[in-house]
């Protein structure tokens, strides 16, 4: 049973019901989906290198940044027809951004797979001022927009690609500490 609004992470397995397969990853160390061989996916990889050329001629496509890959992905999905299966692997932030692009293109839940993220750095949106705080590994973060110390709630918005960050008024924190001390 799903008790979380988190993305449905699971090890990637090539889906035989697909006609075309596209695998996107934010670093080359991410392994290929299980079952590659029966069918070979197209592979797009972020290499973080300004000299990389996205040559589609042979095999793997190398992209200079995650942003470059996601823009290319949006363009590709806009032209795709039924039968594509998309696989994504990488950091939590990258996967969140892939989900936004895939959802915008109208891919259904059975057409996209997300590998378990290779890091714990989450995106946190400030519910008070809408600023997106990237790469949050701790349970709290000082909002870049309004300076509030945000507590990260275990509530994820697929549409925003981020967890909810909510501040706690100082008086409330002190009162809760005092209550905890006095049992």
């Amino acid at each position: 049973m799903i008790v979380s609004s988190q993305l449905p992470f699971a090890p990637l397995v090539l889906d035989a019901s697909g006609v075309r397969h596209l695998y996107v990853r934010d670093e080359a160390a991410c392994p290929l989906p299980e079952g590659c061989g029966a069918a070979t996916p197209e592979v797009w990889t972020v290499v973080s290198d300004a000299t990389a050329m996205a040559d589609t001629g042979e095999g793997e496509v190398l992209l200079r940044s995650a942003t470059a890959l996601l823009e290319r992905l949006a363009g590709r999905l806009a032209r795709e027809r039924v039968g594509l299966r998309l696989y994504a692997a990488g950091g939590a932030s990258f996967l969140a951004r892939v989900a936004i692009v895939a959802d915008a293109a109208g891919l259904g839940t059975g057409e996209v797979q997300f590998a378990p993220p290779r890091d714990v750095a989450r995106r946190v949106v400030c519910v008070h001022c809408d600023t997106l705080n990237e790469g949050v590994a701790a349970d709290t973060v000082r909002c870049l927009g309004c300076g509030t110390t945000l507590f990260v709630r275990e509530h994820y918005s697929r549409g925003l690609g981020a967890y909810m960050g909510v501040g706690e008024p100082e008086i409330l924190l002190q009162a809760m500490e005092a209550a905890a001390r006095h049992g």
Partner: protein, 359 residues
Amino acid sequence: MTVQTSARESYRPPYQVTNSAETIMRFPFPFPEDIYMYSMNVEPHIRSGPVAAMRNTFDIDEHYVAECAEKARILQEDPKRCIVLPHMREAEWDFVELAMTTLSDQYPQHFSLRREGLDWHWVNRLLGYEQSFVFGDAGTLPLPPFEYMARQMQGDFTLHDQREDDLWMDGGMVTAQADWSLKFDLGMSFRQWHAPVPKAAEMGVFDRGLRFLLMLQHEKPVRRLNWTMTINPRLDTSPENFMVWGADRASVTPENVADKVHLRVELQTLYRLPRSNAILFSIRCYLMPVRDIMRVGKWRKRLHRVLRDLDPALSSYKGLDLYRQTVVDFLAPYDDGAPLSNGIQPDAEQPENVLAPAA
């Protein structure tokens, strides 16, 4: 129900909200038993019920004008409290039709609707609006259809698209919410937007609830009551403004508890919409201070028992931990432990005077 035609009340500091005897007696007190735990507690939303607030399709009460004014102010401050995704246009018109036809039928003294084919004429005497428009043509209304009508109604509304055997929160106007955010939950599935609620998922409440709602039929709406507590008569207890109102939870004392602490009840009603096949979720919020609940014997005793024995996980989730014991201690002397009748209906015709009036 008598409706005040001017907004003297204030749902933000300095707070000024008072409830007449009639409003107290029609309050949808949420506890049919002495103990509370999550349940489906869904019943047909028919035009009868244990209290008057439940006997209309959309309930209008004496706070109508003030609540609509507060809603307009919140939307002015934060336009993201109203978002409707483009594929919900048909559902918007479904909502306009349901709201205008039922309000004009059930409150002819306040609202009227004249229909000649697609040429409609709407009058809202309480807010002083009069509008001719072409049903289905958004360009003939001053605002998008859902926003135009939801601004003229008490409570919050969300629109849910049904696809892939799930319900998706694809629109709404949310200005009087118990700590959840429309802009954050927009586009979420039924289980996703319920994810923060403790215990209920493991009890299977959401799976059963979803299965039930997917089968909801046109013209057979359903309802349930939900509750939490709010400090001060504040409609906008949103996460967006938590830094503004959250500290209130630390302000309750034995001296101010009767006036500060409010039982916040949501009369939740759900409707299948005929053209879009979407579901309209109406969340009508009632705020009643402990002082007014005290005036119905059954309610003050039952509130004492429910709060005293509440599951700690629910108390924490609802944000009651800092003041629950203060409320229980205050109510305890007024509970003789006598057995109470099942159901939420009051045990008297008129409110009694238990406490001296507020200073």
